[in-house]
């Protein structure tokens, strides 16, 4: 009989545990439990916790970023609306100012035109008067010269003293004015 068969004959009941196998079984399990309990499971639990926090932190960060983006967007929109208002206001102002300027320039132009016209009239009047005065003197002198040549002696002093010529000329003017006055009256 082989030793194995003897062994089988001795311990036939498979439910009776041999002591050495119990001991080794215990040792084997304690090795596994020891390593897992002391080191490996605390290790992985820590990392799982970190991962959970990282994921939650990531979500929180994303939410914060979204909120910030939203607020910035609203800020921009508000600024844009304000800028539009400002632009509209400036345009309005510019239009008003432009209109005012145009009106002012027009008034100024009108005023200058009237001034120029008035100055022209005054000039013309002054020229006319000067011409009339000069003409009167010349006519008087010419007439006196002519009469002196005819009479043969100088009548100038006498004429000046007697104001004959002036009277004559005044009469002439009166006669010249009369038909024009009559014309105006008609």
């Amino acid at each position: 009989m082989s030793p194995l068969v003897q062994l089988a004959a001795e311990t036939e009941n498979p439910l009776v545990p041999p002591i050495p196998e119990l001991v080794i079984g215990l040792i084997a399990f304690v090795i596994v439990f020891g390593f897992l309990y002391k080191k490996l499971i605390p290790n992985i639990n820590k990392v799982l916790e970190e991962r959970r926090e990282a994921i939650e932190g990531g979500i929180e960060k994303a939410e914060a970023a979204q909120t910030e983006a939203q607020s910035v967007l609203e800020q921009y929109k508000a600024q844009l609306a304000e800028a539009r208002h400002e632009a509209a206001r400036l345009r309005q102002e510019a239009q008003e100012q432009g209109a005012a300027l145009i009106a002012e320039m027009r008034a100024e132009g009108q005023r200058q035109r009237e001034e120029i016209i008035a100055a022209g009239h005054a000039q013309i009047e002054a020229d006319r008067k000067a011409a009339a005065h000069t003409l009167r003197q010349d006519v008087g002198r010419l007439a006196t010269d002519l009469a002196g040549k005819l009479v043969g002696e100088s009548l100038q002093d006498h004429a000046r003293q007697s104001r004959v010529i002036d009277r004559f000329l005044d009469d002439l003017e009166d006669k010249a004015d009369a038909p024009s006055k009559a014309e105006a009256a008609r």
Binding site: M1, S2, P3, L4, V5, L7, A8, A9, T11, E12, P14, L15, V16, P17, P18, I19, P20, E21, L22, I24, G25, L26, I27, A28, F29, I31, V32, F33, F35, L36, Y37, K39, L40, I41, N43, I44, K46, V47, L48, E50, R51, A54
Partner: protein, 273 residues
């Protein structure tokens, strides 16, 4: 057990059908091993199952060391696999039975238990090893006793001396005159039979599974002669089918063992029921 030497180890006998020798059926002798070291008569020896048990421990520790020694927040492949296994026991078994608050403390124990049992079962289909360590009663018994001691200690701690007896005898005055009978049955059931069934459930499953695998493996070899070759093919297909089936049973038995352990612990922590 007959002491026919031809029935000792199938593969040592070059025996085929029609050669005039009987079928070397597997039996209890298939679960006995000559010591690799020491003397089988004394209590100082070392055999194959012990070697496999220790090797299995090293495999588990090695695996989890590789996965969890320097764990990353963003896990690698190995860590992911190990985490899946860890999470399965933690959430799938412990949290489900004991609850998250009270159960967290027992997670390392239950994870160790699950992977230890599973690894010992797995040896069954590992080439060269080809033997489920848990098919030797010693190993499941050790584990069952550890669970049993934990359970008793916890019950004492939680409920005190009187509470302990009320708890394990299912003391409930409302059931009336059958109370003594009920308490006696419960006492034996909980205190004495429970660790036995806990261990034997695992042991017997693996024992039977290994016997079936052996039966078809031996038959495949034995039938390899003449017309028997056709049947050997069928038998070999059965070997493959049974191997797959064993793979499933090994995981299921590890799961059941840990589930029961958890439900015992839960019973100890619960108020009187």
């Amino acid at each position: 057990m007959s002491a026919d030497p031809t029935q000792v180890l199938a593969f040592e006998t070059d025996c085929h059908i029609f050669d005039g020798c009987g079928f070397p059926a597997p039996g209890l002798h298939s679960f006995l091993f000559e010591p690799l070291w020491g003397d089988g008569d004394s209590n100082l020896y070392f055999n194959k199952t012990m070697l496999l048990a220790l090797l299995g421990s090293l495999v588990i520790v090695g695996f989890f060391w590789a996965a969890f020694a320097k764990p990353k927040v963003v896990p690698g492949k190995l860590q992911m696999v190990a985490e899946a296994g860890y999470d399965f026991v933690r959430r799938g078994i412990v949290y489900e039975t004991i609850g998250k608050r009270e159960g967290e403390k027992y997670v390392p124990f239950m994870v160790s238990l699950f992977f230890f049992v599973w690894m010992m079962n797995l040896w069954s289909i590992v080439p060269l090893a080809a033997f489920p360590v848990t098919a030797i009663i010693s190993y499941p018994l050790v584990l069952a006793v550890i669970v049993w001691v934990t359970w008793i200690a916890l019950t004492f701690k939680r409920h005190g001396f009187v509470g302990f007896f009320k708890n394990i005898t299912g003391y409930d005055p409302s059931i009336g005159p059958v109370l003594p009978l009920s308490m006696t049955i419960e006492f034996f059931s909980n205190l004495l039979i429970r660790p036995f069934t806990h261990a034997v459930r695992l042991f017997a499953n693996m024992f039977a599974g290994h016997t079936l695998l052996l039966l078809f493996t031996i038959a495949s070899w034995y039938l390899l002669n003449g017309i028997g070759i056709a049947y050997a093919g069928v038998s070999f297909v059965m070997v493959l089918v049974m191997t797959l089936f064993e793979l499933f049973i090994q995981a299921v038995q590890a799961y059941v063992f840990v589930l029961l352990a958890c439900s015992y612990i839960q019973g100890a922590l619960a108020e009187h029921h």
